[in-house]
């Protein structure tokens, strides 16, 4: 069984004439260790799909299996527990807590897991180190650049050692140079630590870092292609 399996997933917003079918029968399998870019015009259903995969939302009909668990049958709290154990989120707007140090921001998910102070500090420091922000722990978000803020956000997603990293337009608020750095980081995490990465983007250049590209149009998957270039590059890096 794949890590993620969607079967006939639909999602409808509103009712009657005004009803909007955001997802209209989506089938998708993602294996562990993949790096998938989800593309599509706005309103194509890519964000809705991400929300369902991220266990933030449930499908109206159809089924979603995550690690063989029927997510659509879980309660709100059960989905929260699943998120804190297996999922890491990176948002377009970073969504760091203001007036809170990078260190404390990264520690936040561990607080909800009930980890002790010493374990929290060590894990947060290690996560910050892995995104190249060693020594920046005491800075608050307003003292950091956009790229650095997104790195803190990635560290926050990584600190729980998630199975899957879900990134919703992670480079949407960054300039090209910063965007490339973030993409390199995500690609490296996927390649070196085997973390499954799902990323929504509408920039082809960013999608090019992924090994697989899924295109959404009108709530359906219009294309699902392997990205030869990225796949080869990853294998070359893995062999080297």
């Amino acid at each position: 069984m794949p890590l993620i399996r969607l079967r006939g997933v639909t999602k409808v917003y509103g009712a009657g004439q005004a009803a909007l079918r955001a997802l209209d029968g989506v089938d998708l399998d993602v294996e562990a260790g993949e790096f998938v870019a989800i593309m599509g015009p706005s309103g194509s259903g890519k964000s809705t799909a991400m929300n369902i995969i991220g266990c933030l939302d449930t499908p109206a009909t159809g089924e979603y299996l995550f690690r063989d668990v029927h997510v659509e049958r879980l309660t709100r709290d059960q989905r929260a527990r699943l998120r804190r154990r297996h999922l890491g989120f990176v948002f377009q707007g970073f969504n760091l807590l203001a007036r809170t140090s990078a260190q404390e921001n990264v520690e936040l998910p561990l607080l909800y897991r009930g980890e002790g102070a010493a374990a929290r500090h060590a894990a947060a420091r290690a996560a910050l180190e892995s995104v190249g922000l060693t020594g920046w722990g005491h800075h608050t978000p307003s003292e950091l650049s956009g790229g650095q803020q997104q790195r803190v956000a990635i560290a926050r997603a990584l600190v729980t050692q998630p199975t899957v990293l879900l990134a919703d337009e992670p480079t949407g608020n960054l300039d090209t140079q910063r965007s490339r750095e973030i993409m390199e980081l995500l690609a490296a995490l996927n390649r070196d630590r085997g973390i499954t990465v799902l990323m929504v983007t509408h920039e082809a250049e960013m999608a090019a870092y992924a090994r697989r590209i899924v295109r959404f149009v009108d709530g359906r998957i219009a294309a699902d292609t392997l990205n030869r270039h990225a796949a080869d590059a990853a294998e070359a890096a893995g062999a080297a």
Binding site: N51, G54, L56, D57, R76, D77, A80, R81, R83, R84, R85, L87, G88, F89, F91, G93, N95, L97, A98, R99, T100, E104, L108, P109, L111, Y112, R113, G114, R156, A157, T160
Partner: protein, 402 residues
Amino acid sequence: MLWNSFLLALRSIRRNLLRSFLTVLGIVIGVSAVITMVTLGQGATRAVQDQIAALGSNLLQVRPGQRLGPGAGGAGAPAFAETDVQAIATQLGGIRAVAPEVRRGVTVIYAARNWATSVTGTTNAYFETSNWRLASGRKFEDFEERAGAAVCVIGATVRRELFGAASPLGQQIRVKDFSCEVIGLLASKGQGAFGMDQDDVILLPLRTVQRRVTGSTRVNTLLVSMKDGSEPERVKQSLTQLLRERRHLAAGEEDNFNVLDTRQIAETLSGTTQIMTTLLGAVAAVSLLVGGIGIMNIMLVSVTERTREIGVRLAIGALEREVLLQFLIEAVVLAALGGLVGIVLAAAASVVLARVMQVPFLFNPGINLLALVFSAAIGVIFGYFPARRAARLDPIEALRHE
């Protein structure tokens, strides 16, 4: 989980220090108002009780006239005589001492100093009825009382004003137009309630005052102190009966004198101050309620303002009840902090105001604890609604919130 929620709440409060302070201001004011009112009220109650205790405990005051207050002891009612004192002392059971009291304002002079005070004509029994002790010297001798000798026992204030630090014993002071030897000095009772000076007294034998100051044999007041354990009501009844006989009152006639039980006055007066305390406390409690509404208001604003933050927390796996608990604890911690600050403020205000009002400062741990618990409870009550609203947010909607 509780500890983590507490930690999260503390971090949130620290992030918004100024606003947190403004939020709890209502609670601070409410708590300090309640405690200050109750503390001062209890001080006033104690002051009244002290004042009455200083008159003597288990004491009956008998005055001519039918009613209390200004104008009592009017023309119609005959005064008492010295013989009434002896009659009560010999014929009444359950009493410890009976003393007559004739008081008159005078100016006393010693050397070049003079002092406006009052003289009290009485007997040695007065020491017992009014709880006086001697600091030095002696009481009256029998022959001095019988003969109306020019001797006096003075209070600490009179001594200070006339003699300063020097010993007054054996000295002659001038009262009206006669000289009087100081034979004793009363131990100080200290300042009485509401600034009344209890030590501003001069005691002379009854006959001395009657002959040389008032010029009549009338006795204005009888002081009857009862034995411990005797029943005030019964003593009062037999005293009334005895006086009625002595004053030849027929069965249908009203008493032309009144008997005041100091304990009764004490109970009435302290009852009144207690009602005032409760009333003021209740008014102050309303401001505590307003403070609670202030907390709810700010918590609701805070939830709206922090919608994205709540979305992030929910997305990274916070459970509904963890978010609820965090906001609830935030409200409780805020309210309890306000309570603590209020307690400190109230203590300071009470000490200062008690001094200004000249009532004793009585620290009451009960009301302080109650105020703290109550303010925390306000946090729970007024924090619950905003906290529940935060916990029930849809993470997707919350993350999209601008």
